[in-house]
């Protein structure tokens, strides 16, 4: 029996097609954001995301979130979300009203593919502020196998 090129391709590519990648959906992202913000109105501004626009390796992408123009003790929480990782949540950071030195946090995150990173900051007055950044990933993280 001989196999032509088309049959070989069909057989070898089938497992890939049959196993969809786990990925957050717009609905699960929205649900995660709503779970974080509660009923608070989410406004754009005040928060800044520092992340490279183009990263070669999604396994450990430096990320900083900073809130400008507020005293350090005014920042209560920062949450980070991604649009196309398997799970939308990345982290939630909690700040101390008494001991915080600056309204800023740094970490390193995984990006499974090119996608949008969102940061939400909750201030002492209950207001919630949002920033977004689109990141191109040339080599994705092994979030999945």
């Amino acid at each position: 029996m001989t196999l032509d090129r088309r049959q070989v391709l069909a057989v070898t590519l089938l497992p890939l097609a049959a196993a969809p990648r786990a990925q957050a959906t717009p609905e699960s992202l929205q649900a995660a954001i709503t779970a974080y913000a509660g009923g608070a109105e989410i406004r754009d501004g005040r928060v800044a995301i520092e992340i490279a626009e183009l990263v070669e390796n999604g396994n450990a992408v430096p990320l900083a979130v900073q809130v400008a123009g507020v005293a350090a003790g005014q920042l209560r929480r920062v949450a980070v979300f991604t649009s196309h990782n398997p799970q939308p949540e990345v982290a939630v950071f909690h700040f101390s009203p008494r001991f915080a030195g600056r309204a800023r946090v740094d970490t390193r995150i995984r990006l499974a593919t090119s996608q949008r990173v969102l940061a939400l900051a909750t201030l002492a007055d209950g207001s919630v502020w949002r920033a977004q950044a689109d990141v191109l990933v040339t080599l994705a993280a092994c979030v999945e196998g």
Binding site: V90, A91, V92, H94, S96, F99, G101, R108, L111, V143
Partner: protein
């Protein structure tokens, strides 16, 4: 192998002046979305919570998800009027726990 952590603070800490605490923990942060070479799902094994306390006061905390990179790195800022013992605690899946303490003396 014992878990290792690196905690970095500025050499001189001054009363009432903000300084950065940088902490790195040796940990795979296995996401729970990957498979091994035989196609079996690798169970999730992540650090879920990080807490920094000065004495009994919580001064910073983080809830972590699988999208935090392996060997999790966290850096945050403190401003203190009194020194004390800074305790950094990581807890996670499979009963994981690691504690580092740093004595803080203010100039």
């Amino acid at each position: 192998m014992a878990t290792r952590a690196l905690v970095h603070l500025p050499a001189v800490l001054r009363r009432g002046e903000a300084f950065e605490v940088r902490a790195t923990l040796q940990h795979p942060m296995e996401t729970g979305y990957r498979r091994d070479s035989d196609g079996r799902m690798l169970p999730r094994d992540i650090v879920r919570r990080f807490e920094a306390r000065l004495g009994t006061e919580l001064v910073f905390a983080a809830d972590c998800f699988p999208a935090i990179a392996a060997n999790p790195y966290l850096a945050f800022w403190l401003r203190l009027d009194e020194g004390g013992t800074l305790e950094l605690r990581w807890t996670g899946d499979r009963g994981f726990q690691h504690v580092e303490t740093v004595a803080i003396a203010l100039a």
